[in-house]
Subunit: 692 residues, 2 copies
């Protein structure tokens, strides 16, 4: 059951689809919590017992169980996700508290929300936000049911085209069509499956959205077709900021129609990002949203069918005002004698140094941005967390107009709950750190609770240099994430798989993704359409198992699988806890696979660097197809089935299958049952060929 | 066997005590490696097989097995030990390669050395350094024997007084005697054992070495005595830089006697550190070393018996030359119109900003420092890694003169092999990150190989804010490190144990340290005097066990123990691999302990937040005494023994015991055997009372 509690006049973020249909209960009647208000601030407190756990918060740092940490929902462009960081790119204010009472709580608040989950005091969960807020309390039949109810309330999750489940390669940036051809050539040459190559900011003409550099990408439509003929999709980036440049259409239209965010003087707000000085489309203004969304047609018309939206926290390098402020300090410094023994001089020096090094993403600058929301002028800080959401909504709504019959790939860096209906996310600019494999594992179920099913981390790590083994192990987890993209930053070591030794080991891992692709796609679409979680903590499937409840380095995937990736260096075995008897399949490439039934309990398994362990739950079925070099080349009708069942028990797998891009998704029409009956006989729906 | 290979004219770092007594073999005769020289650069290459491992490098990032990473030996003041960092505070160029041939290699080189251990190519170990270098190749009977031989070559490790094995509390900074009294009072009030409180830089008068602020620490000698009467030792910090201030004795003497490092013009080199403009004692000049060492007497005379040497990489905030360079850019910027749309302006802006933010620890500045080494002028870059070493040697050599009969506590931030004879180290400015518990665990055996036995990390983490559970778990490992110090930085959350809830849980953990203290002290002194390792990877004790060889989150401690700390949040069980049958003791405080014999193999054990698991090897003995509030209050003659033995096998533990401070250490005179005979009867040396 979902109850809505209201304080003041909350902003409708449209995260909850039927926001106004819920009864507005007074906050005073909110159970479990104490609340206090201070000026415009609301503080909720819940007393936690020793073993209470708190799940959720989507793209947040730390564990699956958020207990012990502090988290600030404020979409932030910060690529260094060290353990103390409290804000990442997304703001996902949904938690589930597992306590004497188990309940979900969604703080539907577009401005900053602080969750202190037993950090300041180990036994206190404290949430603070502005006092104009709507809070949704979800009670139900356990963790999974609460998550499902919440997902129903926020609407069906975005479903990408099937090719977006293929392996994808990105780098900031492949500078030309020739470079991209080379990347594709090398994957194909080494028989590494590949479905997409990304175009980072340098494909544009002067970093201007909806332009293509003609010099480096001549005859772009032909290039898109050439790639398409090889089953390669090109995925260009779109940045939030629009370059200020006379005669640049997007700029001129935005200015003419008042589509850009304003500053305190009613002028178009200006800050520097990649293109230099830019304006920022006011995505919270429905007209601006429609206008910006329509712009994607420029690339769709050239054959593009996938996009990633970036820099939409929004990230700001600096504003003219910030530069002016720093300039004044530079002038003050220039006026003084450069005497390191003078405290006056050094104070002045440090003032410049400190200011100049924190001109980016300044609160002072965000505070100077204004939106036009249905005619009302609203300060940005009040709605900061909705910016990336509505940029992606602009695109998603436009796609429904531009190509209503076809799913396009779309995902974003910044997000808020509600955006999950329009696109996925990637987990932002991470690092080539072993710890970031585990961090991304922990984010996955947390994101799923919040509606974000199409997601994954930059495999191999975006910043810093990747090593061969790190990439191999990261892929070993990445083959299970819906978005499976290798991505590295400018200035880092090249990390396409063919850059390393023993390329066949990378093929061994990526092939398993393709063997699993129809199954994972089926699991994903079913999870999305049924408002279920594709990735789940073990705690959700085995709530009464105290051991399973604590496990943070294994995940449930789809309805029948458990995974246990290796995420530490120079390790070839790992411990796995089985909450019930399971079928353990050990892959070393597609050809070499062994099976064993492992009993409930603790096990230590061997996992060579290119091996993949998978665990199938009892009375479930796993389907494998034969790997191919692209998702398009897979056979979606021919499978090898792995079934682990109780004696004389029939097992049916409901395989979802479609043409891979239709936007008319129907569980009813697209499900084909594949069964093993009590006697062990396999019965596949017509058209399917399956062997056990 | 140790063989010395020489290229060019190597500098004698005095890491190896009998440097000149080894035959000088030509590098051409170095086995196993290919070598190439390029200009003044030497590159050694070794081909590694799939499962070869490389141990060593002391205080370095990443794993116990260094395979897969790149490491640069260049002592660096960098507090953010994220996974990509290649240089930390120490430079410890000793590795052991476990391969078809197993051997040790010590690159005795005081300037930068780069180790690429399978990062660039997975199968290549590459070492590069200057071509004037001495290389020691150690072969022997396995890993442990190789480490011991190396230790014999570099001389006996520093042994601190026994009280330095007590629990110690530090913060940057306790600002006054009153604050320190409060810290002591609170530990005593809550019955938390404590042996030392640290005085960080603010105890000094204007950050001047060998001064005490009379306003905040009035009548310092009386205060030291007052603390001493409560069994509390005060440990002041000594920084490398000497403040430039007329009439300040240390400064005046240093200038008058040419004891400071010079710049390229022969003037005293100047840079800014905590006190403002400072000079840097030329610790590589024996006269300057003696002079600076004698200065410690100022504090010893006031009753101080422990010191920590800091900022001795040396850390430089900036030089006047750096400031001047930045100033010129500020002037250039001030001359321009502050136009963020102008690329000329922004280029100029970024030049100034980037320079001003990287003025610290600049290679250009290090290159301008010159040493006087036996009359020769030597550029600092050639000997950079010896600076902290020789600062600590200055103190250590002085202590032998000032108080020849008494051991003082001494440790350093920066170090090079050789310094281990004069003092310990702490592992520098870490962070309140869970990953830093594990990182510090991995450093311990690596440091032991290199001679550094007295060491430990800042428990709870120096930078960032610590949470209750993090501190509790970090202590759970810290109770086994010789240096057990809780330390936090200015501006972070206070993290003395009494600041958190349920203080008794902290007592439960720290009490175990005190119960173990006589035993750990005995193990430590024996390891030091026998050139053995106190902390060892499992690979060293069980070289033929392929599973043990890969384990990086368990350690062997002393001759008979294995530990398996918990280093992840919200976890109350962990997996442990036992390379042989062991006695598992589970502590929850001193009073509650249970015993169980666990078989060789994989186990999952429960470890409550305040519980400590310890594993005793077969036919070994563990001795516990009753905890007390200080090391001085412990009974060193009354023990409970835990023995795990084969039937009808006698077990003897050789307990080392002394008065806790004598510098005349003798295994012969100070060892007392405690035995259990074949029949299980306990026989303790006279004077000892032991129960099983």
């Amino acid at each position: 059951m979902i109850k809505k509690f209201v304080s003041g006049t909350p902003f409708n973020t449209e995260a909850v689809t039927d926001f106004y249909s819920y009864e507005n209960n007074s906050l005073a009647s909110l159970p479990y919590f104490n609340f206090t208000t201070e000026k415009d601030k609301l503080i909720l407190e819940y007393r936690m017992a020793e073993n209470d756990a708190v799940y959720g918060l989507g793209e947040a740092n730390r564990g699956i169980n958020k207990r012990g940490g502090r988290y600030v929902s404020f979409c932030t462009d910060d690529p260094s996700h060290t353990e103390e960081k409290v804000s990442l790119y997304g703001a996902h204010n949904f938690i589930i508290v597992r306590s004497s009472k188990t309940f979900g709580l969604f703080i539907d608040c577009p401005s900053e929300v602080v969750f202190d989950i037993g950090y300041e005091r180990y036994d206190i969960l404290s949430i603070s936000c502005v006092s104009d807020v709507a809070i949704f309390l979800i009670t139900g039949n356990g963790l999974y049911d609460i998550a499902r109810q919440f997902r129903q309330a926020i609407g069906t999750s975005y479903i990408p085209p099937r090719w977006a489940f293929g392996y994808q390669q990105c780098r900031w940036s492949y500078m030309s069509a020739a470079e991209i051809r080379d990347v594709v050539f090398n994957h194909r040459k080494h028989n590494i499956p590949l479905d997409a190559v990304y175009m980072d900011i340098d494909y544009m003409d002067g970093y201007k959205d909806f332009t293509v550099n003609d010099a480096t990408f001549p005859d772009f439509t032909a290039f898109v077709n050439e790639m398409s003929s090889m089953d390669i999709h090109l995925v260009p980036i779109i940045d939030a900021g629009v370059k200020i440049e006379k005669d640049y259409e997007t700029y001129e239209e935005g200015v003419a129609n008042d589509y850009f965010c304003k500053n305190e003087n009613g002028e178009d707000f200006t800050a520097t990002v990649w293109p230099g000085l830019t304006h920022f489309p006011d995505f919270l203004n429905p007209s601006a949203r429609e206008w910006f969304g329509n712009k994607y047609q420029f690339l769709i018309d050239k054959g593009i069918d996938g996009f990633w939206n970036d820099m939409n926290e929004p990230a700001l390098f600096h504003t003219p005002e910030g530069i002016l402020e720093a300039h004044e300090r530079a002038c003050a410094l220039a006026d003084l004698d450069p005497d390191p023994a003078s405290s006056e001089y050094m104070d002045c020096f440090y003032k410049f140094k400190d200011l100049s090094s924190r001109l980016n993403n300044r609160m002072e600058d965000y505070a100077r941005i204004y939106h036009n929301i249905n005619g009302q002028t609203v300060n940005h800080l009040k709605v900061h967390n909705l910016y990336g959401y509505n940029m992606t909504r602009a695109a998603g709504e436009a796609f429904e107009r531009i190509c209503p019959d076809k799913r396009l790939l779309l995902f974003s860096r910044s997000s808020y709950i509600g955006m999950h209906r329009y696109g996925g996310i990637w987990t932002g600019d991470n690092m080539s750190w072993w710890s970031h494999i585990l961090l991304s594992m922990k984010m996955m179920p947390s994101l799923n609770m919040c509606g974000f099913l199409y997601t994954g981390s930059d495999i191999g790590g975006f910043g810093c240099n990747c090593s061969r083994q790190l990439l191999l192990r990261w892929l070993g987890f990445g083959i299970f994430t819906p978005l499976m993209r290798n991505h590295a930053a400018l200035g880092t070591r090249v990390q396409e798989v063919y850059r390393f030794e023993n390329i066949h080991e990378f093929k061994n891992v990526i092939d398993i993704r393709y063997a699993l692709l129809p199954y994972l796609y089926s699991e994903f679409v079913k999870a999305a359409l049924k408002d279920e979680m594709y990735f789940r903590p073990l705690a959700f499937d085995y709530p009464d198992d105290e051991i399973a409840n604590r496990i943070e380095d294994q995940l449930m995937v789809g309805e029948g699988l458990m995974i246990a990736p290796v995420y530490t260096e120079n390790t070839v075995r790992r411990y796995v806890y089985l909450p019930e008897d399971m079928l353990y399949i050990r892959f070393k490439g597609f050809a070499q696979r062994t099976c064993e039934i492992l009993k409930k309990g603790d096990h230590c398994i061997e996992v060579g660097y290119d091996e993949i362990p998978v665990f199938v739950k009892k009375n479930h079925m796993l389907l494998l197809t034969k790997p191919a070099l692209s998702s398009n080349a897979l056979d979606y009708y021919k499978y090898t089935a792995y079934v682990y069942r109780d004696p004389e028990t029939s097992v049916t797998y409901e395989l979802y299958n479609d043409d891979g891009y239709t936007s008319r998704l129907s569980l009813k029409d697209n499900i084909s049952p594949i069964s093993v009956d009590e006697s062990g006989k396999l019965i596949a729906a017509s058209g399917y060929e399956v062997e056990v």
